[in-house]
């Protein structure tokens, strides 16, 4: 045993000589990292060159899928030849669930700047049930990001100083190492910036990809980035933002108090909770989504997972259109659409008659017992041709009838 306080004078004597040794060792251990300068500017000619090359390569891609989106995504338009440095710079607009980010409403490329903060927050997972969420933007899901195909995005990730954990972001819309994961790894109290071009239109999950990745996702670190096709989405009356996720708590569903993450439960894929928008009840009661008869509703639906594939269904209506997996292929007249963990879809439907529609994961025990349920309340005029409601009710006794 040694008492450090008694040795202090030794440290004082060693003084400056020690400092030199420590610095030398430190520089050797950390190599070039300590002295690294900031990120290269997008005004850098080398960066420009890369971008120009990239758009040229698109023209020669072989297109094998049939949707118009995909052809446009891989085609170099005149606007794609505009150097990034000449693009108008705009601040990205985010959407906070259940509200979608507003349409980009642009017919030109832009240089979009986006900042997103990671933080760790104790919030309710259900009434009386608290959980230590790890978040993008302080909420689960993280904010919905919306850009336009061809936009150059300068993305800054900030890790709040009170975070315990390092975090980063893997945007599935990004073509590049880890979807940005390596470029954005930051310790608490740091921020990092990288840039990317939104090459492919579609609806994409983003998530934290720091090890152990399953735990970061299971704690709520996911959201959607929507890359609008160049011509934009057809305007609709209502757009909402819904992300499903599964949670693994020590206590079973409904057990009150602050619940710890249960690693074994997560490994076993035995979710205690399956919820929309990070909380039991986020879309029910006073939080129900709203629409009026005759309106077209568009849902941007993601699935953060980490484990469970969603059988996404809205009880009481049929999806008129579904962008399968958030990609270029549109399916029509769909009852239930598959949304894989780390995937997304866009569903659209006209609200035909007044009803309380119910959003569920149609793996139905998840809705009934684990929280995967939400409401969309449609108000307005009834249409008794589309749906009569109950016309008649009377006793039914087949045995009595047979006896006559």
């Amino acid at each position: 045993m040694r008492n450090f306080r008694g040795n202090l004078h030794i440290g004082a004597i060693i003084g400056a000589a020690t400092l030199v040794v420590v610095i030398a060792v430190g520089l050797a251990l950390f190599g070039g990292r300590t002295g690294e300068a900031g990120a290269p500017s997008i005004a850098d000619p080398a960066v420009q060159h890369t971008l120009a090359d990239t758009s040229n390569q698109h023209a020669v891609h072989d297109l094998t899928i049939n949707a118009a989106w995909a052809e446009r995504a891989l085609r170099a338009d005149d606007e794609d030849q505009v150097p990034v440095a000449d693009l108008p710079v705009i601040e990205g607009v985010l959407g906070f669930a259940p509200n979608a980010a507003p349409p980009v409403n642009r017919d030109y490329r832009a240089h979009v700047k986006i900042e997103l903060e990671t933080s760790e927050e104790v919030m309710e997972l259900a009434d009386g049930v608290e959980y230590r969420f790890w978040t993008f933007g302080g909420s689960v899901p993280g904010p919905m990001i919306r850009v336009r195909e061809g936009d150059f995005v300068t993305f800054t990730l900030q890790n709040h100083p009170t975070s315990l954990m390092p975090h980063n972001i893997d945007l599935h819309a990004v073509s590049g190492q880890g979807g940005g994961a390596e470029a954005t790894l930051i310790s608490p109290g740091q921020q990092a910036t990288f840039g990317f071009t939104a090459l492919n239109p579609g609806v994409y999950i983003y998530h934290c990809a720091t090890a152990p990745v399953g735990m970061h996702i299971a704690n709520g670190m996911y959201g959607l980035i929507v890359v609008e096709p160049k011509e934009g989405f057809t305007p609709v009356d209502r757009e909402y933002y819904v992300v499903q996720g599964d949670f693994y708590t020590k206590g079973d569903f409904g057990e009150k108090g602050l619940q710890d993450f249960d690693m074994m439960r997560a490994v076993d894929e035995n979710a205690a909770y399956v919820v929309f928008n990070g909380r039991v009840g986020s879309l029910t009661g006073d939080n129900a989504l709203q629409a009026k008869v005759g309106e077209t509703v568009r849902l941007f639906v993601g699935n953060g997972g980490p484990n469970l594939t969603s059988s996404f269904h809205v009880i009481g209506d049929v999806f008129d259109r579904v962008w399968l997996e958030g990609g270029a292929m549109i399916n029509r007249d769909v009852q239930t659409t598959v949304i894989p963990a780390g995937g997304a879809a866009v569903v659209e439907f006209e609200a035909d008659v007044p009803a309380s529609l119910t959003l569920v994961d149609h793996a139905i025990f998840r809705a009934f017992n684990k929280g995967a349920i939400g409401s969309l309340v449609v108000t307005g005029e009834k249409d008794h041709v589309v749906f009569t409601e109950r016309i008649d009710v009377r006793p039914y006794n087949p045995d009595a009838t047979a006896g006559n």
Binding site: I10, T18, T34, L164, T210, P212, D260
Partner: protein
């Protein structure tokens, strides 16, 4: 020597040394103490290539993380490490930012672990004491000890309890000496703060080691499972991921250190 023999020997050693109950200790008493950790072998989460088990020689380790009061005494005697004097290349902006001034703790608890210290400052502190930062292998070896066994993973539920300790830390760490104590008599390895190790930078950032580069990419992009020795050791993944983001000048509120020799 087999794992079993090591464990048996350690148990005997532990039985003869100081009591290892989890009772809270007086911070001022235990924070100046060190213990001798007997040598042995440990399966690191990411083993050095060619070494399935890392061999660790017997070493001395601080019972607790270094406290604010201890670090204040250090900077008092070493003005070059005071907040206003240290070159930013050796300690980034957050360095000792939770103190009221160069030599004033302010609201910082004297017996809480010192945080917001860079690797350079931590290494200088240990050096001034005639000690050093523990290597990653030493730290991981000491941290693997359970409540009673040198290999805590042989204790039911221990690994899970460590994960809870790590992920439920308070944003402002409590005083040292009040948390968990392991079979070596080492305290607060998991529940208070992250801790610097000597070779944190070397393990992650050498450009000439293909395996190290792969490891970094795995931790950041692939979720980190490939190449790891134990995919269920989430607490270790959290530690390795945390280290993978560090540079030597980093000074953050959740990161402290202890010394070894």
């Amino acid at each position: 020597m087999s794992r079993h023999l090591v464990t048996t020997a350690l148990l005997a050693l532990v039985a003869m040394s100081a009591p290892v109950t989890a009772a809270a200790a007086d911070a001022a008493t235990v924070s100046g103490q060190t213990v001798q950790v007997p040598g042995g072998e440990v399966a690191l989460l990411f083993p050095v290539e060619g070494e399935e088990l890392a061999h660790v020689e017997s070493f001395e380790l601080d019972v607790t993380p270094v406290t604010n009061a201890q670090f204040l005494a250090f900077v008092t005697g070493h003005p070059e490490w005071r907040r206003s004097a240290v070159p930013r290349v050796f300690a980034a902006d957050g360095y000792l930012s939770h103190w009221a001034g160069d030599l004033e703790l302010g609201a910082a608890a004297p017996d809480a672990p010192v945080t917001n210290v860079s690797w350079f400052a931590a290494a200088a502190y240990c050096e001034a004491r005639g000690a050093r930062l523990p290597t990653e292998a030493e730290w991981e070896y000491a941290a693997r000890a359970g409540r009673e066994l040198a290999d805590g993973y042989q204790e039911a539920g221990y690994r899970e309890s460590v994960l809870v300790l790590v992920s439920s830390r308070a944003a402002r760490p409590a005083d040292v000496g009040r948390g968990e104590v392991n079979a070596y008599g080492v305290r607060d390895m998991h529940g208070l703060v992250w801790e610097w190790v000597f070779d944190v930078g070397a393990a992650m950032n050498t450009a000439d080691s293909r395996s190290s580069g792969d490891r970094r990419l795995q931790l950041l992009c692939g979720g980190g499972s490939a190449g790891a020795t134990d995919n269920g050791d989430y607490a270790a993944f959290l530690r390795y991921a945390f280290r993978s983001g560090l540079s030597g000048d980093y000074a953050g509120g959740g990161l402290g250190f202890r010394c070894a020799s």
